[in-house]
């Protein structure tokens, strides 16, 4: 039960911020409510890690219906701990960063209330030990993500982006819930550990259970933005930057990886790992290629997140859980850091997002240093912790030569696009307002700088931790990784530093890559189809109405217009009743 208390400070923070929104002067306290909640919750988490042997994992009885008990079950296993640690480390930093970033007084309370609710859902997800708990948290993530992406209500683009995200996520929720119900119908349990042991004991698994787990994997793909559900993530960048750093790179998008990791023993037994592997590869490749094509300062990072998540799924698909988890941890840190850097740049450039229009990182030395640490880490250069994440996945990939070749290409691509991201602004033409810009860079709010420095320090500190724990390193894979990434960085240097990138930027390849492979067009076609169906049903309704109306027009008194329309419509209703009875009689004759 202790684990549920982890949520409490965040929920209280959300409540306090929400209350602040009703008073005109209280908005300035809402950020402290949010930050206080996040810090308290992280301290409680730390305490949980220190005292983990004494934690009671009782089930909270929720309700009973017929012979089944529905319970909130909790768990504090290895995978849960990984996610919990990531959330607990990142969330206070994000709240702290937001204090500097969100300078919109009247909207502050809403922002912190929504962000705290999100963090609470994330904590609940991290401690879930069964599908009920998981699904409640899962829905909480979907809703808060929708609210936060569409946070800027005065602009249209964020609203479209939010709608797109919620559409994709709801499709995933639907598949998830269907899968959960089918599993419950056949196994009569929601609990992960019971489920794993029950399925392990089966000699042949019914096809319905396999189908249910396929649905759950697909549901996980929507949250984790994997092909073909990945397009919402880049649009989600319309939300405030701390939100992108928190939800859409380091925590929420990991929910899918988390679920699949929890269920890994079952998925391995059912032979579904190849499916995960294939989708992981497709997504990683698409993500890397799109990142190389985009010129949006945040979207490049978003596509890169898709690639990272794809890498995690590849590792899981190769049944290398430990490798996936190492990447899981290090990716959260460097990606949150890079997003914060992007946010700083945007803030100094009046929310400009085009790489070719913003001015350089190096105007603020500290900013450039942290961005460089983040970029080197994601590229996989020793001694930054991203190296270990990439290396773990590469080493797992050694078992399959095709996968390994893809991984090497991805290493190259990552180095290429992330340094493209870093170099292009450096070479932009000098602006007239140079002095003003410099002042803006220098006057970056302290809270933003401090959180970036802390994250950069953590990225390096994690390396020390990995070295201290004496992990096995495959030297060959390490050399290949460094060579691949180095070659990528070198290409980026030649193209974007020496040649200032024109050859690449004007090439047809880049133009094609920036189109996003027409996935969006496919989405639109599906949406249009549904819309057409909905309208068609209403049209049919009107059409029948019209026919009956005309019929009534023929028989009724022509002069009496009121009577004509009224009786026409009521006739129609009565006719529908008669048709209904007729259909049911038909059913009766067929069945009796």
């Amino acid at each position: 039960m202790y684990l549920l208390y982890l949520l409490l400070p965040l929920l209280l923070g959300a409540l306090a911020a929400f209350i602040c929104s009703f008073s005109s002067g209280a908005w300035r306290y809402s950020k402290y409510a949010g930050l206080g909640g996040a810090v308290a919750s992280s301290l409680l988490t730390l305490f949980a890690f220190l005292k983990q042997n004494t934690i009671q994992l009782g089930q909270l009885q929720w309700f009973t219906a017929f012979h089944s008990t529905f319970a909130i079950s909790l768990s504090f296993g290895y995978i849960n701990q990984v996610l919990l640690a990531v959330v607990a480390v990142i969330s206070p930093l994000i709240f702290f960063y937001s204090i500097g970033y969100m300078d919109v007084p009247e909207e502050n309370s809403r922002y912190y209330a929504e962000l705290s609710l999100f963090a609470a859902s994330m904590m609940l997800l991290a401690v879930s030990g069964g599908f009920i708990t998981l699904f409640i948290a899962w829905e909480g993530l979907g809703i808060t993500s929708y609210l936060l992406i569409g946070f800027w209500t005065n602009k249209d683009a964020p609203q479209y982006a939010a709608r797109k995200a919620i559409t994709t996520i709801i499709i995933g929720d639907m598949m998830m819930l269907s899968g959960i119900l089918v599993i419950f119908a056949s196994l009569n349990t929601f609990n992960f550990s019971t489920m794993i042991s029950e399925i392990a004991a089966m000699s042949t698994v019914p096809i319905s259970i396999v189908a249910a787990f396929v649905l759950i994997i697909l549901g996980a793909f929507t949250k984790s933005a994997q092909f073909p559900f990945h397009e919402w993530l880049s649009d989600a960048m319309e939300g405030p930057t701390p939100v992108s750093a928190f939800l859409h790179s380091s925590t929420m998008v990991k929910a899918g990886v988390f679920v699949v990791a929890l269920l890994l023993p079952i998925l391995a037994q059912l032979g579904l790992l190849n499916m995960i592997l294939v989708f992981g590869i497709i997504s990683a490749v698409i993500g890397a290629l799109n990142a190389a094509g985009s010129t949006h300062i945040k979207k490049i990072l978003a596509y890169s997140t898709i690639e990272d998540l794809g890498l995690m799924f590849i590792a899981i698909g190769l049944n290398a859980l430990a490798a996936a988890m190492v990447l899981f941890i290090v990716q959260a840190l460097y990606k949150a850091l890079l997003f914060m850097n992007a946010g700083s740049i945007m803030k100094a450039n009046d929310e400009e997002t085009d790489l070719y229009k913003v001015s350089s990182f190096s105007k603020n030395r500290l900013l450039f240093a942290t961005a460089l640490i983040g970029a080197l880490s994601i590229a996989g250069i020793f001694p930054f912790s991203g190296f270990f994440g990439k290396l773990a996945v590469d080493s797992a990939g050694l078992s399959n030569s095709t996968v390994y070749i893809v991984l090497i290409v991805l290493d190259f691509a990552t180095g290429f696009y992330i340094f493209r991201w870093l170099f292009i602004p450096e070479k932009n033409e000098k602006k007239d307002s140079e002095i003003r810009l410099r002042a803006k860079y220098a006057s970056q709010p302290k809270s933003m700088t401090v959180s970036q420095v802390i994250l950069a320090a953590l990225v390096i500190f994690l390396t020390a931790l990995f070295l201290y724990t004496n992990i096995e390193v495959n030297v060959g894979a390490a050399i290949v990784l460094t060579a691949g990434a180095g070659f990528g960085i070198l290409s980026a240097y030649l193209l974007f530093w020496r040649l200032a990138g024109l050859a690449w930027e004007r090439s047809r390849t880049r133009n094609f890559l920036s189109k996003g492979f027409f996935v969006n067009a496919a989405y639109l076609a599906i949406a249009k189809g549904t819309r057409a169906l909905s309208t068609a049903i209403e049209e049919i309704d009107y059409f029948i109405n019209r026919i009956v109306y005309l019929g009534a027009f023929g028989v009724a008194d022509l002069g009496n217009s009121i009577r004509r329309s009224e009786t026409g419509i009521v006739n129609f209703y009565a006719a529908a009743v008669a048709i209904g009875i007729f259909m049911m009689l038909l059913l009766l004759v067929l069945l009796v």
Partner: protein
């Protein structure tokens, strides 16, 4: 409890209270005299409390050859009395006061007759009471409401006619007309089937099942908001009570009810069609009342899932959802009604509601999220149990279609929510204390029972075991 409520007293007390309220209003209530309305609201609260105390004390009895009290009737009557209490609360200030109060009392009487029915006669008279008094209530708001009133009247008359024919088919086999008595009689399978089909048709008109529900959007849209709340919150639920009683008691012993039987098949189809019809058409609505009308049609479809499952769990889930939906829809219509009096009707006009009134925007959001089935609100718990019951009855298809529909519904709710939370330059408005009180009661129910459904589920289970053994 048994000492406080001696045998036979409570049920008679209920009837007396109903009549007292009725006649006191009829004779005494003059316009603008609020004290009588307060008395009436208090009386309704007293009735609800009595009903629940009967439920708690496990009171069981037959009386007047027409009525019987058991857990099922006490729970549903008690819950729906709270609904009527809320309706009176939200229409506290609306003109014409006397007629509104009077016809609501008639509806209450009808509700009592249906919920406590021991004889089918009680059900038919009760249903008539409910429909006709609603018709007159709509009419009492003025001449421009003639159209919805007329439509409701005609459809109500059709419903009654079909009901009576259905009853006539069974009459030769048992003239006692008591629910239990008819159940014991035997008849040819085809005659029973025919009668059953007609009963389904008659009751589906009021409970808004496809294709008997085409009148619903017109009437809901045309009628004043508080009457719409009454129709969606109470009238529809009354016919669901009648459905449960007739199909589970009368037809149970014919062996025609049960999984994979005719009636389950019929409700299976009705449920699917109703859900899809309601949700798909709601997607393109521009008027908020029509949207809620179609949404409440689709919600009726969910209730039919449990009835189709025909198990103890299914009936329990249906009872749970009947009560849950009553609170959600009355809360929503309370806000819609209040905004209607301020001339805010279309979804577009709901833009910037949070700037007009934050309370209304937040509570309408919570209620709509609950209808869409988002945890931890009551709509989620209800749908969860409903879909589980379908899964238990091996109707996985029905459960999956239900899930698909509940996600479909998020779209039109999200559209309204999105509108409400946009920033607009609008004038602030404040609802009366009665609207705030009614909505707050609904919100407390939606959140408290959503977080801890066992509160209601235990009672629903007891009530379901009266119908299904």
């Amino acid at each position: 409890m048994q000492q406080i409520l001696p045998a036979g007293i409570p049920a008679i007390l209920l009837v007396l209270i109903a009549f007292m309220v009725l006649f006191s209003l009829f004779t005494l209530l003059s316009r603008k005299r609020r004290i009588y309305k307060v008395v009436e609201i208090a009386a309704v609260a007293l009735i609800a409390i009595t009903s629940f105390s009967m439920l708690l004390s496990g009171y069981n009895s037959n009386f007047l050859y027409l009525f019987q009290a058991n857990a099922f009737s006490e729970l549903l009557f008690g819950a729906l009395s709270i609904g009527i209490f809320l309706i009176l609360l939200i229409s506290f200030d609306s003109e014409p006061q006397a007629e509104t109060a009077m016809f609501v009392s008639f509806v209450m009487l009808g509700l009592f007759m249906v919920a406590f029915a021991y004889s089918i006669i009680a059900i038919i008279v009760g249903l008539e009471f409910v429909i006709l008094s609603t018709v007159f209530m709509i009419l009492s708001y003025g001449k421009k409401y003639l159209e919805p009133a007329l439509k409701l009247f005609v459809l109500g008359a059709i419903s009654t006619a079909i009901f009576v024919v259905a009853l006539a088919l069974l009459l030769p086999y048992d003239s006692s007309l008591s629910l239990v008595g008819i159940a014991a009689a035997g008849a040819g399978k085809f005659i029973v089937g025919l009668s059953l089909v007609l009963f389904v048709a008659a009751l589906s008109i009021e409970s808004a099942a496809f294709p008997f529900n085409l009148w619903v959007p017109d009437v809901y849209d045309g009628a004043p908001g508080n009457v719409t709340a009454l129709m969606a919150g109470i009238n529809k639920k009354v016919s669901f009570i009648a459905i449960l009683e007739i199909f589970l008691i009368v037809f149970a012993s014919y062996g025609i009810y049960g999984n994979s039987q005719l009636i389950s098949q019929a409700f299976f189809l009705i449920s699917i069609l109703t859900m899809f019809f309601g949700n798909l058409v709601a997607l393109v609505q521009k008027n908020i009342k029509r949207m809620f009308a179609y949404s409440s049609i689709s919600q009726a479809g969910y209730i039919f899932i449990g009835i189709s499952a025909a198990t103890h769990l299914g009936i329990e889930a249906s009872i749970f959802y009947i009560i849950a939906h009553m609170f959600m829809i009355i809360g929503a219509f309370a806000i819609v009604f209040w905004l209607e009096t301020k001339n805010i009707r279309s979804i577009e006009e709901y833009a910037g509601l949070k700037d007009r009134n934050a309370f209304a925007a937040v509570s309408l959001t919570i209620l709509m999220l609950s209808m869409a089935g988002i945890p931890p609100l009551v709509g989620f718990a209800g749908k969860f149990v409903l879909f589980s019951s379908a899964v238990y009855a091996n109707d996985i298809i029905l459960a999956l279609i239900g899930i698909a529909n509940s996600f479909l519904s998020i779209y039109y709710y999200a559209k309204v929510i999105n509108q409400m939370f946009q920033t607009r330059e609008v004038k602030r408005i404040r609802p009366g204390i009665n609207i705030i009180a009614a909505v707050t009661i609904c919100l407390i129910f939606v959140i408290a029972v959503g977080i801890y459904p066992q509160l209601l589920l235990g009672w629903a289970s007891t009530a379901a075991s009266v119908l299904v053994h």
